[in-house]
């Protein structure tokens, strides 16, 4: 009798109670934060506070109940952490709304429309999609059947902003699609679809991709023929960079593909090859594209461009400095000095008002979220699930690294949204779908009874090692 089966005598609790408690805690933080913003800015208790807060609470509760029914054994931390991040985002967006309104009042300019209600609507849509994923996808392995459809759809969505009429260019980057009055970033959906595609593709092809044909410097390198997918990923991400001028997305896709290749094949040579391809791409982009060139120059010396292209990053750094260790306090900083404070630079606003203490808490929350995703990848049995969970977690990790690194001037700034925090519907919805998929996989991974045969539970066979 092995150790494993003795441990199995204890039953795995579902941990849904812990999840509910943490959700309550996240909600309380939201209420406190909103009140603080209102009081500190002199707005008083926000007029629609209880309605807004009630809606957020109800949405969180709906998700909790759906998880309880549909994914009973899913990870207890994914949902509350993602909810808290969304709530922090809502509080921050409200904070920036107040700041913009007050500034408009001072300049006797027309009042801008507040963004927080739009974001709340998007959160509701995200919850609908979250529920839909958990209800419709009963078993994540089913998704493997549509590998190539997902891949094709993902690529289509990626190039959709280039289509005439519906594609729109905003601030120099062509990543929006506008149909009627409704606009969204298809790249956000493409991110999930392509992760699904990569996972399905690599499960099938990983054996040939792991083959070592030549040894060089002690590392095995794959066959030239097998370099095909890597090359295609490289060309596609360069294409996104060239035609849509979207640095962040192209970086995300290439990074995602390389890491998934590495996870699938466990060959370090892919990482090295990937880095070489990345370096070539980065050099080419630096040489030939002004917008990339500018970003790098501003990154190296933002103060020389403090009034022009470096304005954002300089203001963001001043914000962090103003925040210090304990932060200026919600409602007491000047977050709207940074242009796009509620999208790309929301982390700067949080850094200013919550300080280093708050930033660390925020980054820890992201770390927990990503760790739970990767742990799901480690514990689920089927290789497709493993790759999918790892890929989805890495999507989140790359986004956080790229945007937080950019805002804090660790790496050149690229326009990516901060998962869950940033104002922007497509990104919020897409990230919630990622959470739903991770919950679905982790339910499978943590479920105590593994259904191996079609017969009912009582007849499940037992495999024992002696």
């Amino acid at each position: 009798m092995s150790v494993g089966s003795q441990q199995l005598a204890r039953r795995q609790p579902s941990r849904r109670g812990a999840e509910l408690m943490l959700l309550g805690c996240a909600w309380a933080l939201g209420v406190l934060g909103t009140l603080q913003v209102g009081w500190a800015t002199g707005e008083g208790t926000p007029s629609r506070l209880w309605v807004t807060v009630g809606v957020v609470g109800a949405l969180a509760l709906v998700m909790h109940i759906v998880v309880r029914i549909k994914a009973r054994y899913a990870d207890p931390l994914l949902l509350p952490v993602a909810t808290l991040l969304t709530i922090l985002g809502l509080v921050m967006i409200y904070r920036i709304d107040v700041a913009s309104a007050q500034r408009a009042e001072r300049n006797s300019a027309p009042q801008p429309t507040p963004d927080v209600y739009a974001q709340l609507t998007w959160f509701a849509i995200a919850v609908v999609l979250f529920v839909a994923v958990l209800v419709l996808v009963k078993d994540h392995r089913r998704l493997q059947r549509y590998t190539y459809s997902f891949g094709l759809l993902g690529l289509l969505l990626l190039v959709l902003p280039l289509a005439p009429i519906i594609g729109t260019t905003v601030n120099g980057a062509t990543l929006w699609v506008r149909i009627g009055g409704f606009s969204f970033q298809p790249a956000e959906a493409a991110k999930i679809l392509l992760t699904l595609f990569f996972a399905g593709y690599l499960v099938v092809k990983r054996d040939s991709l792991a083959l070592v044909r030549s040894k060089f410097l002690g590392l095995g390198f794959p066959q030239i023929r097998d370099l095909g997918p890597l090359f295609i990923a490289w060309v596609v991400s360069l294409g996104v960079l060239v035609f849509e001028r979207d640095l962040g997305t192209s970086l995300l896709f290439f990074g995602l593909f390389i890491t998934m290749l590495y996870i699938a094949t466990q060959r370090r040579s892919w990482l090295i090859l990937g880095s070489i391809f990345f370096a070539i791409g980065a050099l080419l982009a630096y040489q030939f594209f002004d917008h990339v060139h500018n970003r790098v120059i501003v990154w190296l010396d933002p103060w020389s461009y403090a009034d022009t292209s470096g304005y954002q990053i300089v203001q963001s750094l001043y914000g962090f400095a103003n925040g210090g260790i304990m932060g200026a306090g919600l409602g007491q900083g000047f977050p709207n000095f940074v242009p796009f404070a509620n999208t790309d630079f929301i982390v700067a606003a949080i850094g200013e008002e919550l300080g280093l203490t708050g930033m660390f808490a925020l980054l820890l929350l992201y770390a927990v979220l990503i760790e739970r995703g990767l742990r799901t990848a480690v514990s689920v049995r089927d290789s497709f699930g493993q790759l999918l969970a790892a890929g989805l977690s890495i999507t989140l990790a790359l986004q956080v690294f790229v945007i937080v690194g950019g805002v804090t001037r660790l790496i050149p700034l690229t326009g990516l949204t901060t998962p869950f925090l940033s104002y922007g519907g497509s990104s919020l919805v897409a990230n919630w779908v990622i959470v739903a998929l991770l919950l679905r996989i982790s339910d499978r991974a943590r479920r105590p009874e593994i259904h191996q045969i079609d017969a009912d539970d009582a007849l499940t066979q037992v495999v024992r090692r002696v």
Partner: protein, 157 residues
């Protein structure tokens, strides 16, 4: 709102934020102490105490366990009761064999009229009882090698 009150609220907010992080860590820690059934090593589960009725039915069927005698899973024992056992590379098989010579759904073993019957599920390399490749569901006698790919199984009492 006085300065002091605002400072207190500010600190309370940060405190609550860190409390959340702390609670998260506590849940994480508790999770680590959980039995490791989610790990790849813990794929099986504790057998349930067999109900009397089940025992009676089981007794009628000859052979109580399937033992792997050759191949990567050598030593694995699959207790048989009343349900079928599927063999193959597919992750949802009862016996998952990592073997290039096995099909994803290779064969199944099911009880029928007091015996265990082997059926080939359209595998590429066939299912063999002793030296014969089976084409129809065949009764598996006790102690005779059943070959699936490079894995050999044996029915034991």
């Amino acid at each position: 709102m006085s300065e002091l009150a605002l400072t207190l609220i500010r600190l309370a907010f940060l405190g609550l934020l860190w409390l959340f992080v702390l609670l998260t860590v506590l849940v994480l820690r508790k999770d680590l102490r959980q039995p490791a059934e989610t790990r790849p090593t813990g794929r099986s589960r504790q057998p349930k105490a067999p109900k009397p009725a089940k025992v009676a039915r089981q007794a009628k069927v000859r052979g109580t366990k399937l033992v792997v005698t050759e191949g990567p899973l050598t030593g694995t024992v699959i207790p048989l009761n009343t349900a079928q056992v599927t063999i193959g590379r597919a992750p949802d098989s009862t016996v998952v064999i990592e073997d290039d010579y096995a099909s994803s759904r290779h064969a199944r073993v099911y009880p029928s009229e007091g015996a265990w019957v082997v059926e080939d599920l359209g595998s590429t390399n066939g299912t063999w009882i002793d030296r014969t490749r089976i084409t129809t569901p065949t009764v598996l006698p006790v102690g005779v090698p059943l070959r699936v790919g490079r894995t050999t199984l044996q029915l034991q009492r």
